[in-house]
Amino acid sequence: MQRFARVEGILVEPIGHLWAAFSPATGETALLNDESASILEVLEIEPADTAAVCAVLSSDSGIAPDELFALVDGSWQQLTEVGLVRELPVSRNHPQ
């Protein structure tokens, strides 16, 4: 399973009902909803794959991990493009 990490040095701050996230990688600020910011919080602890992120968010939201999977899996492209998340190279030592 592909793993993702939070980009080093990003700043995430609450602004009203939303979150502003600055990426030093792109020099841009993105506006996030709670769901995107939650994914970054999970990755703040350590890099994780989609299933692990869903397991954590399942305990927070009360929604089954398999129902979250497609939503979280579909968010990686967007979070990567705005410079908040990076895809980790697959390691031979990491169990797939």
């Binding site: 993105a30 996030l32 909803n33 350590e46 954590v56």
Partner: protein, 192 residues
């Protein structure tokens, strides 16, 4: 699962703000600075409506494009994909301006922007999409459950004179005065 991942953080936490039983599509929209334009714009909405604009779909969301836009999503079928607007993206913009009326679409709804040649499944119901119609949930491909993916294109949103987001450019029937809006105007907009 690693137990470390289950520890909530002590500071203000997005995870704690998640509503139990609900999880919208994660959304992230890049902001571009419009401060220079906004500084000279005393009544930007009035200016926008003096010359209403309806910019076309674009595939390059660069700082040179100054319209407030949301991404388009494609749902691939056996042939031509249908394209969709994600209600989460629209609401993310609307929440920037507290006090404005709620937008025309909710967090969990999706609007068909263009039809493909395949039916889709929405909340377990098979649907023949119609461009412009807002649907109650996220569409998925009938054969394998695949979900819409961003296709790299963006459409401009339309607002009315009160600053309410009433649609996107390209679908739906505009009622009353509506126009696309520049990002700088939106970030400086204050509802009356």
């Amino acid at each position: 699962m690693n137990k470390k991942l289950q520890d909530p953080t002590a500071h203000t936490s997005a995870r704690r703000r998640l509503v139990r039983g609900a999880f919208a599509a994660p959304a992230a929209l890049t902001l571009y600075s419009g401060s220079a334009f906004a500084a000279t714009s005393l009544s930007c909405v009035a200016k926008e409506f003096r010359n209403p604009t309806y910019p076309a779909v674009i595939t390059d969301l660069s700082p040179s494009d100054t319209y407030l836009r949301v991404p388009l999503y494609s749902l691939a079928g056996r042939s031509t994909p249908s394209t969709w607007i994600n209600g989460s993206d629209i609401n993310l913009l609307a929440q920037q301006i507290p006090g404005t009326d709620p937008p025309y679409i909710t967090n969990f709804q999706w609007q068909c922007f263009s039809v493909g040649l395949s039916n889709v499944k929405i909340n377990t119901v098979t649907v023949t999409p119609i461009a412009g119609i807002v649907y109650a949930g996220q569409p998925s491909r009938i054969s394998n459950g695949a979900l819409p993916m961003q296709n790299g294109s963006y459409v401009a949103i339309r607002i009315n004179t009160n600053g309410k987001i009433v649609g996107v450019v390209g679908v739906g029937v505009p009622t009353g005065n509506t126009s696309a809006v520049h990002q700088s105007c939106w970030t400086s907009f204050k509802p009356a």
